[in-house]
């Protein structure tokens, strides 16, 4: 059968493909005429039954849906609505005929209004009409429409939308409908693609079997040719990749399948990355690598202060964890780091270098204390091995504060925490009086596995999900939970879907990932069911 294509207006965006399900209006049914008193009773019962159904639906609906149903409930509770129907019954009409005529008159009244918002209410009235007619004929109007199907009809009623299971996909294509109606609002909120104003005869398409809804071209395609289907699939995939991965997950708070919220922060290596980033997509900045500031020698306090302040202001009160200079090893800085170390990863790097060369460290701490006035700046020390290193650094921080205050410079004491990347610190984590712990899984893994990060030949050993690494991570997470200190992970593993389940299973509830990994990390988090991890 040749494919058919119809153009309409987009009421809710997206792509949907599925079996065609033609919506037929609830039939009036052929009820035998009874005595007027019996007919009036039948109508009263049917209205009561419809109200009961609506209350049930309202109790299950989300707020949008519940408000729409509240309107229908208020209308059905109003005796005025059925007054004309009861009058007609008194003079011999059957309950269903009387009700249909009374409601059709009102529907016509709404449809003839200039105001589109009032006009859109006619679909609520049709919904109420059909629900009561269904109750009168004993038909189940709540029979669920097939999940994943493309519903094609004249119009779709809000209660029917709400009674449909959209979890399996599906879409809506209507010959009438309204892009400003209740169903359109609901469809947008649920992400159900919907096209309205399609010009075709329902009877003429009822024998078709497959439908595609494409909101990019605002078309409904029935029984597509293979080429159409391929083109549709390719464009839907592209749209899905760019939208659902990025929009659907990126902007949402991260939650596991069992409903556990996970804090997701971003790692920033260059403040320019923030320009294209909406602060709403994350819970803050979990790691700022400040090495970018030291590309051309040692930056002065003012230069650093401006950059840190901008980071704090971008985050708007969310935490911004700034790591003090982590020079050495694979990040040499001429004039600061030692040259010709035999084994630089095990040499003078991170906090070791900062304590050995305290002047640049003090400058950085002063800039951080000044910027902390403008946001929730936290200072994180890299490569901490001994509690004494943390305490020496704390001494520098206190002195920086004292000097700034003595000079009358506005400043604030930032929280002071440490990276956990040296196995000794992970194993003896309880010895550190740090405000927070952030696991640097890249270095922790290389040190636990004794496999250099920069060596291809031992790359197979670099596995952050190795039980030995995970055991240390679990120990740090448990310690943090016990003493009420934040624990997060800021290594690359946090942004890699294949490791996320293991990391959450180890007890982590906060991850910091690169901005580009936000979507895939949150998507992977959403697939983790902590209840099944034991």
């Amino acid at each position: 059968m040749a494919e058919l294509r119809f153009s309409g207006r987009v009421a809710s965006g997206g792509f949907a493909a599925g079996p065609l399900a033609v919506l037929l209006n609830a039939a009036g049914g052929a009820r035998g005429a009874g005595e007027p008193a019996a007919e009036a009773q039948a109508l009263r019962n049917a209205i009561a039954s419809a109200l009961h159904q609506l209350s049930d639906l309202a109790a299950r609906a989300e707020s949008d849906g519940a408000e729409i149903l509240a309107f229908q409930i208020a209308m059905l509770e109003d005796e005025t609505l059925a007054a004309a129907a009861f009058s007609a019954i008194e003079v011999g009409a059957t309950a269903d005929r009387a009700w249909r005529t009374a409601l059709d008159d009102q529907i016509l009244e709404y449809e003839s209004t200039e105001d589109e918002h009032f006009r859109a209410r006619s679909s609520d009235l049709r919904d109420m009409r059909d629900r009561v007619l269904g109750a009168l004929s004993g038909a189940a109007t709540d029979s669920r429409l097939p999940s994943g199907a493309i519903l094609v009809g004249e119009d779709l009623t809000p209660s029917r939308f709400l009674a449909t299971d959209w979890s399996g996909g599906g879409g809506i294509a209507l010959t009438r409908g309204s892009a400003s109606g209740h169903v359109a609002t609901l469809a947008r909120a649920r992400g159900v693609p919907m096209i309205v104003g399609l010009a075709f005869d329902l009877g003429g398409v009822a024998h078709r079997t497959e439908a595609l809804i494409d909101s990019e071209s605002a078309t409904l395609c029935l029984d597509p040719e293979p080429a159409t289907r391929e083109d549709f699939a390719a464009r839907a995939r592209a749209a899905r990749r760019s939208r659902s991965a990025l929009d659907a997950f990126r902007m949402r708070p991260a939650v596991t399948a069992d409903g556990t919220p996970i804090a997701v922060f971003v790692n920033i290596g260059d403040p320019a990355e923030l320009e294209a980033l909406d602060p709403a997509c994350c819970d803050g900045i979990g790691l700022v690598r400040t090495e970018f500031l030291f590309n051309q020698g040692l930056p002065d306090q003012e230069t650093q202060y401006r950059v840190y302040r901008r980071l704090a202001e971008w985050a708007g009160g969310k935490p911004v964890t700034i790591r003090t200079l982590d020079a050495g090893a694979d990040k040499p800085i001429p004039g600061l780091t030692l040259e010709h170390e035999a084994n630089p990863f095990l040499g003078l790097r991170g906090i070791r270098l900062s304590l050995a060369r305290p002047e640049p460290f003090r400058t950085q701490l002063e800039a951080l204390c000044r910027a902390a006035v403008y946001g929730a700046i936290e200072v994180m020390l890299p490569m901490v091995t001994l509690p004494r290193e943390l305490e020496l650094a704390r001494g520098h921080l206190e002195q920086a504060l004292a000097e700034l205050r003595a000079a009358g410079v506005e400043c604030r004491r930032p929280a002071l925490g440490i990276m956990i990347e040296v196995p000794a610190a992970a194993i003896a984590v309880e010895a550190f009086d740090a405000a927070f712990f952030s696991i640097g899984s890249n270095d922790l893994t290389q040190y636990v596995m004794a496999a250099a990060r920069d060596s291809d030949v031992v790359a197979a050993l670099i596995d952050p999900s190795h039980p030995a690494v995970l055991r240390l991570i679990a120990q740090v997470a448990a310690h943090g939970a016990q003493v009420g200190r934040k624990v997060s992970l800021c290594g690359d593993a946090g942004g890699e879907p294949k490791h996320i389940e293991a990391l959450l299973g180890a007890g982590l509830r906060a991850l910091s990932v690169s901005p580009a990994a936000l979507g895939r990390a949150k998507e992977a988090i959403a697939r983790v069911d902590l209840r099944s991890l034991g």
């Binding site: 949008d64 729409i68 309107f71």
Partner: protein, 107 residues
Amino acid sequence: MDDFTATSSAALTNRIGLHARPSVKLTKLAKKFESQIELAPAEDGPWVDAKSIVKVMAVKAAKGTILHFRATGPDAHAALAALGALVALNFHEDELDHEGRPGSAHG
């Protein structure tokens, strides 16, 4: 019991007039009072029962309409004060209301 009639008026300033959700709120509020309450889109009517959502919706009062209220009964003053406040407060629909969003309408 002293029965008396009181009248008042208030301008509809919410974004899209007296429609589904505002009407639900208005009629629910009116039903809390004993007095007979009517409303009209003009001083000379037509007056409709403010406790009937079907009739209130049929007024199709658009944004900018001056709504007139008329109440008769023991709590007429209280009823008018409450209804006037509801209209003046835009039916408690703030800027983020669905009805206010372009391309979307509820109500």
